[in-house]
Symmetry: C3
């Protein structure tokens, strides 16, 4: 029995926690729900290796074989996301020392020390044994190493590894002292061993974002991201020794600050992530936030399709308040994932846990194993729809001409900066610009600052705090060939070491943007400066609130001033500017505008390139196109609003889910959570 | 000189802190105030045993003898509530390791490690010597061991004791692994020594209520409650070696979460507690809260009278804001205690401390020793009133037919649960239902879930998260014999190990309640779902806000739906149900209703059994009956409101405090803080 | 090249962080800005002593010589404000153990253990070498030891030093046990070594202000203040061995709670401090706050002029939100400093740091080194003005007849007290009374409680919690000779050991004030009790809100009641009283009145002595007089409001800054930030 190619559907499955009779009920229910793929083995270390010198694959054999018998594919996990008790007891250094400098003992998960030789040896050994045993198993379609890598360790082993990492990066202490500007506060290091991990016992106060030396902390974050990656890479190598082709990946967490996924991307065979959007009372904002994360994950590997490895069918458990997904939302969000490039949409979890901290986390099957619940019905309906879609979108790409730059270094640097304003959060700024692009249904790639920008007409780089490598030149090239760069306040401030450019702000972007920032004012969140923004037809001026930071800009003579502050001592000074270079334009927004203000700027920029998308004025209606390898184009129309809306179809096509034909100009009545997948 | 039997009156007295001339002034003032009983020796360790090998009872001899000479009784404390400096220095393991994993050094109080052999040995030795010396002293009427036991230790000695406790509880690791559901996150323990106390260095984050393994944390709380109890039991045994009959107790803290007083109850000869109600701007809510705590303490020993060991005559010092008790409040609250079963009402403290952290805590005598203050006058008036009452209420019982279930396990389990809603606090739910019963002046016993329920017509079990032992059967028996069970959202979720029932929610209560809970929605505190509740005369529907959790209930065919949600996707679904079994009823409130909604449900349930009490509509008027061993009945009428109110007396009797006769039907003018003690 | 005597102008300068070509640009810019004085060597340890056995003064030689060549004076710092990495590695005990009991490792600054022998030895040795080398350098006009001493250490070395300090203070354990009231909670110490530093592992919970033993914590603060001072004194002695006369000082932090600057004052040759006022949305309140701090610093050394060692030319970086100084504010605040007694006004910093946590802290020169910025222009204009003023105010004094008492012990004691109200902050109370005095342009000296009070007509002592030494007698003497004492709620509560006076409150002030406080009520911040205050012409009653604490006062028969509470059970009780003794008066305000209420009381008290100053009704207009040694009087008129105001000049004189003549009765149009320096 085999399942036809389609968007993978299923999720985390831990039958080792249940007696065999439950397995029968599980697979019967999976059949009803159209489940094709099961992720097994996550957190299974204790039963795979009950003691350091003993392995036991009996149960896993049965799980994998049973899945195969039922015609389901398996994503096989290495269990290194949670160590067994015996390991911590035998090797205390496998546990972390935390930011407060405390050595932890056994407990929780996702908390091994990445520098622990024992943990590395044992996790790699087990990964190898799993690969040896299951590498050829026909059911195994992917390998999933560890789980949700994150956090940080500050132990002496990590300190030693950090020093080695620094030696490799800087070569000499002179270069390191220069990078960290150690002359400040007498920090000149004269021996590598003087260097300490930056935490609450050394450079930090008030937590991870308050450091005396941003350069040290920045490097420790880079190091720790690499150190965690080291564990992944080592396990992957052990798998590759037995498994030549099957993709090896792990489940990332989207816009997760502690780990720089751009440093990880080249080591993953597949971009895969867990979609748990942060709480937001607005479903439309939530949809935009997920679109941003989907874009970021698709951007990891140059626009390749990605997998959603986890989403909840109903509710989370880990939040203070855990709402259930409203009817239809599961389908809506799943189709949004597919629209943005997902070739798999998997759940955490297939069956409710019995005890411990996830016992109330939603699942396909509840504690009673019912298949007559609302949740199960929605899961099954979605399963049927995905089967109907079949393989039509597998491998499809997003034909975006807009790039949004995402940069972990800027994220880190901006938020650990002393001054000008701790209330500015990188994702808030990035999100505001993304939300404007998304609301206009412009197709957007969310790419690292190292990405090739040749394919884009518009590059949006909000809060591009750090400008490193040849980025300034590549941005200039976009403008030179007629494109548009749009960047904002707090950009162009620091180099790769987080040292200020010894030049006018915004440093290497100064000439391109045709401005210099003379001062940066900051105000409390309740203070707004109304900005008068003139765009579009002559005289079209509207006023938008600006908050948090207010750069006082001096424009070059040829630079166009599109908006000015109307209050405070810099009233009349430029708040939005545009510098023209040939056919290209370089825009600068010198403050944090409210959403409507951002939307006007973004729409103007998109308009110039004809990139405002369909239904840009239909609130909550998301439209995304995907182009399959054979050129087939699917247009996804998703309604995230909470009230029905009627829009006019802008294309002709057939809704794959219902077979209904739609013609351009037809009215489309969209209920909340409506989904159309139009083959156009 | 002896004092006639009466409600004991007096309190904590530390003359060792003062020169002898102050003692004379003290006793003279005590005489003016009608003080009968002094608690001495609390925190006296340092002067009773100035060095490990030296004891000195000279001062205590003088204190006790002087009290006897003055005709006052003594409650003699062992001093183990605070260790002397020499002990901590000689035995560092007597100090605790805290939740953060830090070994404390000498300081504060109430912070010995319960597993420290040295502390145990020394505290027991001293208790024995005190018993030997004062056991026969005629003034000593009770023994008070330690002080306000609480908190927790996480040291290695406690870890070892925890493992021993677990061995005794579970026998095998297999049983323990099953109870803790350790297959989840690879926690299978293969050696007892792998088990760690659950704290910030192991299973916890964000504090004591955030744990990866609820089962482990739950057992640690049970263990720590038992470990602290172990110290009490050991000291008590040392006393009993010399003192055959005098009651031995300690001062509990009412609704104090860290210690399960139900596990302690059988070891106390008397239920005794300290009454410091939490701050609440509403005096009526405060009165209800104290009534709940009085009930819980009376419930420890099957309804026996209890002692209030501490209350402040005027003000606390330990709060951020310490208001003085308004005029009359001291008397009002004291009489409330007597109404609910107190046979002693004692103060902390008799004289203001001179220095350190309680120097501003109120006292009968201020720093100047004045007896012409408002506070002293009120103390003296109250003393005279208690003398007037005499022995009339000693040993009296509360003739309640309503039981309210209180369960530390449910309290712990509910508040450490990940999901559905961290904003739900057990005492808030319990308190809301208690407040409704209290406002209707229904007499209520607050009992453990192990209590016999035969005597009750109505059993109210709010947030009965954990259902353990034969509780479900006993609740069914209440209904079967025609009684009413009333329970709420978040009940019937977990078994004794905090594992979910693998069945429909609410597990073992499902058939009795005639419902199943299919989903549990949760919302932020500002979100209300209006619930339409139809009760009483046909068509009597009113709408009440519900918040926090919203269970989507599927009723059995015979179950009556009394209320429905009116908003969100579950609008129209049941919010209150009642299942009939013979003459009995089992009610379920599937959400957290506002106070008016709870009151309507509770009144309806009470009405069926004729249990709505007197003055149920007179806001702030509390009425409590006590029946003495000889059958005499006293009705306490207390006015907690801040405005005068005139009510109609519903009984005839004589106000013991004034001698005034009251006839049924008479108007009673009740000023704020009015108290009547009617012999009926 | 020499510069004429004038108010010193310049600031912190760290050219060692820059290449030599930048030095040229720096000095050129300094010339444009009228910079006279550079503070060099702060945090320079690592390059002055690159290893324990190696010193290198090459760069410092060049810096100092270059300054001299350019005709600028140098304030030479010892670098002990930040230790180099090699020191921490070789001597781990130089790092602190923090309040949580954690040993820190290398990082940050201002964090050496004051009891570390290694740190002491090395810092003193380096100070001596610097003094030896630069003591005779003609450019060096002052020595600046360390930097912003503060914080606390809790290590074992400090514990030992604390015990030695206690032995010196108390002599015997009996005296110590009495001072700390250790009988309470069994804390009687029987060996000095039992004493532990009071922190989170011993006597504290919820942070530094929650202690079980206030006496212990109070003494630890005194000890730690002295211990930090010990480092200063030792370095100063090493300097004095080579430098007989040049003043030696360090930069204090104004109203900085952790260090008792009154304990330091006698060891400083100059009062010098860093002026970074706390954020306040009101510029007028901010001005008052700075005036208070200037007064406190001037009060350190009996009214001698002081130096402002640091202020920012534009923006801070260390706050959550860092606003730039509005146009004119730099000048306004600088002139305010001069008005209050500054003979130097220096900046932190001359050039923007390149990296680390101060890279966004404002500077005279920005990262690009521009001299055409608004900030530089304002700096240069101010430089020119100061040059115009020349030496006219050097050494001038403030002819104040009002004393405001400032006492670190009361500040500490009040805020660590358990009860009555944690929301009362000492500086809020002090600030409210100071603001009233300031708004009336009364000249005020802010003096320690040990200061001679003979020169003052009015002594204001808000929240004088602790009354120690002969203070009560000296206050009585003020009243006896016809002066006025004004004090408030929470005064006269404790003695020098923080033990309550065993007497009526307010203890030793009771007879002078003619009242006793019987009770102290406290309420949440949202609760106000309206106080009816009758002052001035007959029948002039107005009502003012009182909050937080409400003392119930019993007045002596002759005491005048000027205000009463109008609500709660103490309605009608006195809230403001005045007791007459001969021609003198002793006022008591028994609660915390709102600003208008305080202002009425203060104005009335000032009026009696003719001390209401000029422009007392002109909001935001500050007027300060300084009298030079030669008797020349300068009147500073400063406008802190944000709108222009026209006032009537009350004196005749010449504005030194513009040469404009002003006659009494002339209208003066004052723009925001206007400054006049009238030679009268």
């Amino acid at each position: 029995m085999t399942i036809s190619p389609q968007v993978r559907y299923g999720g985390d499955y831990n039958p080792e926690q249940w007696p065999r009779e439950v397995w029968d009920a599980d697979h019967a229910a999976f059949g009803l729900a159209g489940i094709t793929t099961l992720t097994v083995g996550v957190f299974a270390w204790a039963h795979l290796q009950p003691a350091e010198d003993r392995y036991d694959f009996t149960t896993l054999d049965a799980i994998v074989d049973r899945a195969a018998t039922e015609g389901r594919d398996v994503v096989l996990a290495t269990p290194s996301g949670a160590m067994p008790p015996w390991l911590a007891r035998a090797h205390p250094d496998a546990c972390r020392v935390d930011f407060e400098g405390r050595r932890h003992v056994y407990g929780q998960r996702h908390n091994h020390c990445p520098s622990s030789p024992a943990f590395r040896r044992l996790s790699v050994e087990l990964a190898g044994r799993l690969a040896e045993r299951y590498g050829d198993h026909p059911a195994v379609v992917a390998w999933h190493v560890g789980n949700e890598y994150g956090g940080a360790c500050y132990c002496n082993l990590c300190a030693a590894e950090f020093r080695a990492w620094l030696r490799a990066r800087y070569g000499t202490l002179d270069r390191l002292n220069d990078a960290w500007n150690t002359t400040f506060w007498s920090h000149t290091f004269t021996d590598w061993d003087e260097i300490q991990p930056p935490n609450a016992l050394s450079e930090h106060w008030r937590g991870p974002n308050h450091t005396a030396f941003q350069g040290i902390t920045l490097d420790y974050r880079r190091f720790m991201s690499d150190a965690l990656l080291g564990g992944f890479v080592a396990e992957k190598a052990a798998i590759r020794a037995h498994v030549p082709d099957t993709p090896v990946t792990t489940n990332l967490m989207g816009l997760y600050q502690p780990v720089d996924y751009h440093r990880w991307a080249e080591h993953l065979d597949l971009a895969t992530w867990d979609n748990y959007p942060p709480e937001d009372p607005s479903p439309v904002r939530t949809a935009a936030r997920m679109a941003l994360a989907h874009g970021a994950m698709r951007g990891l590997r140059g626009g390749e399709p990605f997998w959603v490895m986890e989403q909840t069918p109903s509710t989370t458990a880990s939040r203070d308040v855990n709402a259930v997904k409203r009817p239809g939302v599961l389908g809506l969000w799943t189709w949004q994932a597919v629209a943005h490039g997902a070739d798999a949409t998997l759940f955490f979890q297939m069956r409710h846990s019995r005890g411990a901290c996830e016992k109330y986390h939603g699942a396909v099957l509840d504690h009673a194993g019912r298949t007559d619940t609302r949740v199960f019905r929605e899961v099954a309906e979605l399963g049927a729809q995905l089967a109907t879609l079949g393989d039509a979108t597998l491998g499809a790409r997003t034909p975006a001409r807009v790039a949004l730059l995402l940069d972990w270094d800027s994220w880190w640097a901006l938020e650990m900066s002393d001054g000008p304003n701790r209330n500015v959060r990188y994702l808030d700024v990035l999100g505001a610009y993304h939300r404007a692009l998304w609301a206009m249904n412009a197709l957007v790639d969310v790419v690292p600052v190292t990405a090739a920008l040749d394919a884009y007409d518009v590059v949006v780089a909000p809060a591009l705090h750090m400008v490193k490598g040849d980025l300034a030149a590549r941005l200039a090239a976009v403008v030179e060939r007629g494109g548009t760069l749009l960047t904002t306040a707090l950009s162009g401030r620091v180099d790769e070491d987080d040292n200020a450019f010894l030049a006018d702000v915004p440093g290497p972007l100064r000439d391109l943007l045709g401005i210099r920032v003379e001062e940066t004012d900051a105000q409390q969140p309740d203070v707004a400066n109304p900005v008068a923004l003139t765009l579009g037809r002559p005289g079209a001026t509207a006023v938008h609130d600006a908050r948090h930071v207010f750069e006082v800009v001096v424009p070059d003579p040829d630079t166009t001033v599109l908006a000015t502050y109307t209050a405070d001592f810099y009233a009349g000074a430029p708040a939005v500017t545009s510098a023209r270079h040939g056919d290209g334009e370089a825009w600068y927004v010198a403050t944090l505008l409210d959403d409507r203000g951002v939307a006007r700027v973004v729409r103007h920029v998109l308009d110039r390139h004809g990139l405002v998308g369909p239904h840009a004025s239909d609130d909550g209606v998301e439209v995304v196109d995907r182009v399959a390898p054979d050129g087939t184009r699917h247009r996804f129309v998703l309604h995230h609003g909470t009230a029905p809306i009627t829009v006019t179809s802008q294309v002709s096509g057939v809704d794959v889910l219902t077979g209904r034909e739609v013609r351009a100009g037809d009215p489309l009545e969209l209920d909340p959570a409506a989904v159309l997948v139009l083959r156009t």
